[in-house]
Each structure stands twice: as structure tokens, then as C-alpha cells.
């Protein structure tokens, strides 16, 4: 041990020695600079004194320098006029008082420099002292003793086998993992670990704040986290504090139990990846439900209605409870839109029991009823899509001017089975329809819209796929073509 210890110490010995030398160099440099600045300061002091007394007399008898080596007696006249060097060979003619002001200003700067240098010197002297101590400490182990604690696996594996009590609740495995890793990696990188923990905690707290409104969904799993035992007390406190929010978070996104049932002996990175991955699934779900946006909608009557998403969120929370969490997972998968074809896959109307691809995703339902916004979720989803991606579908906006104004359509009662599919976009604005269903909306729609008579035709005809194709091809050429191709 002594030999090994000695060997280990040879390296730091050289390093510490060099460190001390470098610090001393800095101190010396500071010293020389301080010397220079004090000289300058003294010069300015003398100059200031001279300037104060200079205008006292009209002229002074002086020895005028005559070339580099000789002097000649002479007089100094015009004692009040001073030419001040401003730098870069620029001069200013000032009175003695003005020159004095300039000198005072420069003195301030010099003093500041002196103070800074003194501070730096002090700091580095302290560092030199520290390096010296370190040197002596590493050189002779007699005076200083290294205290080490070996971490056994038994102490580290205390909280290993914890599983989530609820399948969809996010267990506080992260925190437990942190604990384990903190113990294991005590010697190295503890500073970085705590930072990561802090960032994790920040994220969790943010999410917690967002979900505060949906507390009715939170089950009381807080009691399950109280039993966790940990070796370090600080971690315990953190854990206890983290536990309720973590669990509160977990319910909403619907974490699948599969990734979390593994023993928490993952690396921190693996855990983070899982977390990120898991969050990828419900991100769409989240972002729409949680954002409390207010949207103004122009209805056909030229009235603007305000709406908040809270109502919708509550509606959807109830529905989700009914549907179960499995649906939610399925929805997440379905709602992943990567291509325009996916959009058309998602936005389908169910008419007569068959899924009908919607002609325009900006419109939620057929226009046979009214232009007023509807209370359905599918139209809400549509509106959400509109809001989020409406810009990309410029041609739709061009053709359907009312939609550009932001009018949503009323949902037909037959579209109930589709409601559950668009829960993810439940954060859209839905307004109650003030207008009756049977009111025609001819006043709002420009006559150039081909879809209205089309849809009326659709309702009548049993086979509706052919009619939209030729009509729509005029207007919705690009997307229509893609959709048809996909079919």
C-alpha cells in the first residue's frame, strides 16, 4: 500500500509543484504591474499638484531643455493653456482646470487597475499557499490522512427491486437510480450527477405545474413512495419531495409498464433515453391538451367567440377514462403524422359505417348543416390541425375562404365513433353551435366552392368516391392525387 501510495503520489507531486510555480509567476507578474501602475499614479499626482499651482503666476523662471543634453534659462508663459494628449497623437488645448479634470479621470482608471491587480495578487497568493499545502500533503502522508469509504453492493442495491404500483404510473425509479449511481460513483463526477438530477427535477417540476389542473386524474400513489429507504439522507428528502410530483406526472402520459419493470440498474443515460422515448409517444398528446390557448373564432354571424381548452381537456379526460389507457396508446401511434398521406389517413369521416377520406382537413364535417363551430372532438382535432399546420395547406385556404376565417363546422351526430380517435388534439377550440343545424349557409360560402354541392350529392348517393375525384381534382390536385395514389 505504501509503495502504491507513493507511486500514486509521484504524479501529483510534479503537477502540484508546477501548479505552484505557475501561481507564483502570476503573482510576480501582478507585482510588476502594480509597480508600474503605482509609478503612473505618482506621476499623475505630481502633475495634478503642478496644474493646481500653475495658473498662480503669470510666468515662471525655468530651465528650458535645449536639445537632448542642454538646458537654458527661460520663462514659462501662458500658464493657463495646456495641451493635453488624448491618445493616438491627438491633442486638445485646455485650461489648467480642464486639464486637471482629465488628470483626475485618468487617475480613477489607474486606481481601478491597481485595485484589480491587488485583488488578483491576493487570490493567487492564496492559491500558492494551497498548492504548497497540497504539495506537503502529498509528499509526506504522516500529517494528512486520506479517508476513503468502500461502497459495497449490498448498500447500493437497497432500492433496486421497486416496481410501479400502477401500470401507468411513473415510478420514481429515476430517483432511485440516481441514488444508486451516486453511491457507486462517489469518487468521480458527483458534481455532474447532481447537475443532471437538478435538470431532471426542473423538468419534473415544470410538468407538474402543467398538470396541476388535472388533479382529478391523479390517483393517490404518493403513499407508495413514502416507503422508500435510502442510505443518504439528502437523497431521501429529495426523493420524498420528488415522489408525489413524479407520480402525478406519470398518470397523464400513460407510461407503459414495460420499460419500467426492468430492474433499475440502468445507466443514467439509458434511463434518460427511455424517458425521452417514452415521452416521444405522448408528446403530441401532451402539447395539445396542455396548452391553454384562447382562440377567437369567426362564426358565420360575424361574431367572435372566445374559448379555452380547459373544457375540452376535462371532456377528454372523462372520455379517456372511459376508453381506457390502451386506446390512448393506440391513438398516439395513429396520430403520428409524417407525410401528407398520414393526414388523409387520420382525417376521415365515418359515413354510413365506412371511413370516408375527407376532402379537406380544414373542414371537419360536411357542410350540409351549418357553418357554425361544432362541439365535436373531431372538428376540434381538425381545427387543431388547422391551427398547427394550416399554413401548409394554402390551396385549401384559398378555396375555402370561410375556413380561412376560422369557421368550424358543426359535427354531425353520426361521427361519434371518430371522437375517440382525435383525443390527442383535444386542445383545440370547440364552440357550441348557436345556430340550428338546418340553416343553410349559402350566404357565407362563395359560390365557387365545389365541395358543397358535391357533399350534398354525397349524402344522396351511396357511392361517393367517384364524384369527389373529378371535382376535387380541379382544386385539390396535389393532395388528392397523393391520396388517390395511396389508395
Amino acid at each position: 500500500m505504501a509503495g502504491g501510495g507513493g507511486k500514486a503520489n509521484m504524479k501529483p507531486l510534479g503537477g502540484v509543484h508546477r501548479l505552484r510555480e505557475e501561481h507564483e509567476k502570476v503573482v510576480k507578474d501582478c507585482d510588476s504591474r502594480i509597480q508600474h501602475w503605482t509609478k503612473v499614479s505618482g506621476d499623475y499626482d505630481a502633475l495634478s499638484d503642478r496644474l493646481k499651482t500653475l495658473p498662480d503666476r503669470l510666468s515662471y523662471d525655468i530651465m528650458v531643455p535645449f536639445g537632448p543634453l542642454a538646458f537654458t534659462p527661460g520663462k514659462l508663459v501662458r500658464t493657463n493653456e495646456v495641451t493635453v494628449l488624448l491618445g493616438d497623437n491627438w491633442f486638445a488645448k485646455c485650461s489648467a482646470k480642464q486639464a486637471q479634470a482629465v488628470v483626475d479621470h485618468r487617475m480613477k482608471h489607474v486606481k481601478k487597475e491597481l485595485d484589480d491587480l491587488a485583488q488578483t495578487r491576493k487570490n493567487f497568493e492564496a492559491r500558492v499557499g494551497l498548492a504548497k499545502d497540497l504539495e506537503t500533503m502529498s509528499a509526506n502522508k504522516g500529517q494528512f490522512v486520506d479517508i476513503r469509504e468502500e461502497v459495497t453492493s449490498s448498500t447500493a442495491s437497497k432500492g433496486k427491486q421497486r416496481i410501479a404500483h400502477k401500470p401507468n404510473s411513473k415510478p420514481k425509479l429515476d430517483v432511485v437510480v440516481d441514488l444508486n449511481e451516486e453511491e457507486e460513483e462517489k469518487e468521480g463526477g458527483t458534481g455532474a450527477m447532481t447537475e443532471e438530477e437538478l435538470w431532471r427535477r426542473l423538468d419534473e417540476l415544470e410538468r407538474l405545474e402543467e398538470l396541476q389542473d388535472e388533479q382529478d386524474r391523479l390517483s393517490d400513489t404518493a403513499d407508495t413512495n413514502g416507503n422508500d429507504s435510502s442510505s443518504s439522507s439528502s437523497e431521501e428528502e429529495k426523493e420524498a419531495a420528488c415522489a408525489p410530483p413524479v407520480n402525478g406526472l406519470s398518470l397523464k402520459p400513460g407510461w407503459s409498464p414495460a420499460p419500467h419493470s426492468d430492474p433499475p440498474l440502468h445507466d443514467r443515460k439509458a434511463e434518460d433515453d427511455e424517458e425521452e422515448e417514452g415521452s416521444r409517444l405522448p408528446t403530441i398528446f401532451f402539447s395539445h391538451t396542455v396548452e391553454p390557448k384562447k382562440v377567437r373564432i369567426n362564426t358565420g354571424k360575424n361574431t367572435t367567440l372566445k374559448f379555452s381548452e380547459r373544457k375540452e381537456q376535462k371532456e377528454h379526460s372523462k372520455r379517456k377514462k372511459k376508453n381506457g389507457h390502451s386506446n390512448g396508446h393506440a391513438h398516439h401511434e395513429l396520430h403520428k403524422i409524417t407525410s401528407p398521406a398520414d393526414v388523409y389517413r387520420l382525417f376521415v369521416d365515418v359515413r354510413n359505417g365506412e371511413p370516408v377520406p375527407r376532402k379537406s382537413i380544414l373542414k371537419s364535417r360536411s357542410r350540409e348543416n351549418s357553418v357554425c363551430s361544432d362541439t365535436s372532438e373531431s372538428s376540434a382535432a381538425d381545427f387543431e390541425e388547422r391551427r398547427v399546420t394550416g399554413r401548409s395547406f394554402s390551396h385549401d385556404e384559398a378555396t375555402h375562404s370561410d375556413t380561412s376565417d376560422g369557421v368550424t363546422e358543426e359535427d354531425s351526430p353520426t361521427a361519434v365513433p371518430l371522437l375517440s380517435r382525435f383525443e390527442a388534439f383535444s386542445g383545440t377550440v370547440i364552440e357550441k353551435d348557436p345556430m340550428p343545424t338546418g340553416v343553410p349557409h349559402l350566404t357565407i360560402l362563395p359560390p365557387a366552392l365545389p365541395t358543397i354541392p358535391e357533399r350534398k350529392q354525397e349524402e344522396v348517393a351511396s357511392d361517393f368516391t367517384p364524384p369527389p375525384a373529378p371535382e376535387a381534382s380541379k382544386r385539390l390536385s396535389k393532395f388528392k392525387a397523393a391520396r388517390l395514389q395511396q389508395k
Partner: protein
């Protein structure tokens, strides 16, 4: 007659102190010379004081400069004794 001032940071290091002492003793010697010269001047001589950091010499009163120089010397001596 030159008027120069040098400040040294008094640190606990004995080495620096001895350097400071040497500097002080040097200054004292110079000051002694100045005082002796001033006192040994003829009455009609003019005394000029150099402006710091420049080549300008201002005419000064002989007796006055003598007393100033003496004060300076006493001060330096006191400082050396204080260390």
C-alpha cells in the same frame, strides 16, 4: 533634484523585507546627499526642481527646498527604523 517614490508591498516574506530595507537605505543616502548639497550652496545660486516624469525644471526657493529635503530625509530614516 529628483523626487521619486517607490512603494513596495510589505509581505511577511523576510526576503522581500530585506530588499525593501535596502531600497530604503539607498534612498536615505541619496537624500543625505541632496541635503548636504543644498546646504552648501552659495547665496546667489538658483535651485530648480524637476517636474516628475518630464524634463522641465521649475525655479524654486533655495531655503524652502532645503527644508523640504530635510523633512524627507527624516521621514525616510523613521521608516527604516520602524521596520
Amino acid at each position: 533634484m529628483k523626487m521619486s517614490s517607490k512603494k513596495y508591498n510589505n509581505s511577511d516574506n523576510s526576503q522581500e523585507q530585506t530588499t525593501y530595507k535596502e531600497e530604503l537605505s539607498k534612498k536615505i543616502k541619496e537624500q543625505k546627499v541632496v541635503v548636504d548639497e543644498l546646504s552648501n550652496l552659495k547665496k546667489n545660486r538658483k535651485v530648480y526642481i524637476q517636474q516628475r516624469n518630464s524634463n522641465i525644471f521649475f525655479l524654486a526657493d533655495r531655503s524652502q527646498t532645503l527644508s523640504t529635503s530635510r523633512k524627507e530625509l527624516d521621514y525616510l530614516k523613521k521608516e527604516l527604523q520602524d521596520i
